[in-house]
């Protein structure tokens, strides 16, 4: 249904409290999260992609290329859009 690629994040209100002040400390770490939820975030979804802008010849952003294969093998019916 609503599965477009990341609709750009928009409209962040500013709130200067740090997460640690407001969420229980153990909530973020020390929990076993599902691998697929983690990979959604670390590969398919967000997280800043650098590398490609920085590395030259010797360190081609090979990572991205190979991850495509990984993702593909995880969801064979639904190839990654990139």
């Amino acid at each position: 249904m609503s599965a477009e690629r990341p609709a750009a994040a928009e409209g962040f209100p500013h709130d200067l409290r740090t997460p640690a002040e407001l969420e229980p400390v153990e909530a973020l770490a020390g929990r076993q999260v599902a691998l697929i939820d983690l990979l959604d975030r670390l590969l398919n979804g967000g997280a800043v992609l650098t590398g490609d802008l920085v590395l030259s010849i010797a360190d081609v952003d090979l990572v991205r290329i190979n991850l495509r294969a990984v993702i593909h093998s995880i969801t064979p019916d639904d190839p990654a859009p990139w």
Binding site: A3, A9, P19, L28, I36, L39, R41, V48, L53, A58
Partner: protein, 258 residues
């Protein structure tokens, strides 16, 4: 080719970053340390070129067990840091030749990173997945038909018709829950990102994952958010809402122009 490379986990403001790195274990058990430049700090660790260079990385990431270990380690560093201070999580396996490569990158993209840090400050990410599970949908009440009164052909057609009706009903229920969840989440969240619905061998059922969204929610509103997004599926058979988090805001650490 050096025997060591520099693995980058996250970027943040220098204050508290040293504390965020303290006692945290990076890839292959190496200590996490900090690299500073351009008013920013990076959490990095030294990795071996054998394992994180071109060939090594390829081998690791194509092996699901190794991929899991690398991903969980990366997440562990990011999550530990995010408890102390807002950081931008980097993509999995962001590997540089050396610390100088990281400082060059910080200099080049410093302004952009500082702006993103300001936007994410005081927020966490929650995941919201909606599932449709035909196995748990309540079938529409079948009209009692005395078996003898109908030919087998008609009974078959009738059953098919009922199945289709049930499916259509579930479809309508799912649509309704999806829109009510989006509405409820929108009232509390600052931003939303749609991930691809989960499928394949790693997807956990039961049922079919219909939506898989990340929401950026102000810290401290987690319980209210969870309650608001799970309520719409209450009492709707065959539709389930799963909430994960709080996460460091992985899904929102994305430059706008990308």
């Amino acid at each position: 080719m050096t025997a060591e490379l520099c693995y980058l986990y996250a970027v943040g403001r220098p204050a508290e970053l040293d504390e965020a790195a303290e006692g945290v274990t990076g890839q292959d058990g190496a200590a996490v340390r900090t690299v500073y430049a351009a008013g920013l700090g990076a959490l990095v660790s030294t990795v071996s070129a054998d394992r994180f260079g071109e060939e090594g990385l390829k081998a690791q990431l194509e092996d699901l067990d190794r991929l899991e270990a690398v991903a969980r380690c990366h997440h562990g560093v990011v999550a530990a840091a995010y408890q102390r201070t807002t950081v931008l999580p980097m993509r999995l396996a962001s590997v540089y030749l050396d610390d100088a490569g990281v400082t060059a990158m910080l200099r080049e993209r410093g302004e952009e990173f500082l702006a993103m840090l300001s936007q994410l400050e005081g927020h966490v990410e929650w995941g919201v997945k909606i599932y449709a599970d035909p196995g748990r949908a309540v079938p529409a009440p079948a009209r009692p038909v005395p078996p003898s009164a109908e030919s087998p052909g008609r009974a078959y057609l009738q059953r098919r018709q009922e199945n289709r009706r049930n499916q259509q009903q579930l479809h309508r229920d799912v649509e309704a829950v999806v829109s009510r969840v989006a509405e409820a989440a929108g009232e509390l969240a600052a931003a939303r990102v749609a991930h691809r619905p989960q499928q394949g061998e790693l997807a956990t059922g039961p049922g079919e994952n219909v939506t898989n969204d990340g929401y950026l929610v102000p810290s401290g509103h987690g319980e209210a958010f969870r309650e608001a997004v799970t309520r719409p599926a209450g009492g709707v058979p065959g539709v389930r809402v799963e909430v994960t988090g709080p996460w460091a805001p992985y899904s929102f650490a994305v430059p706008r122009e990308r």
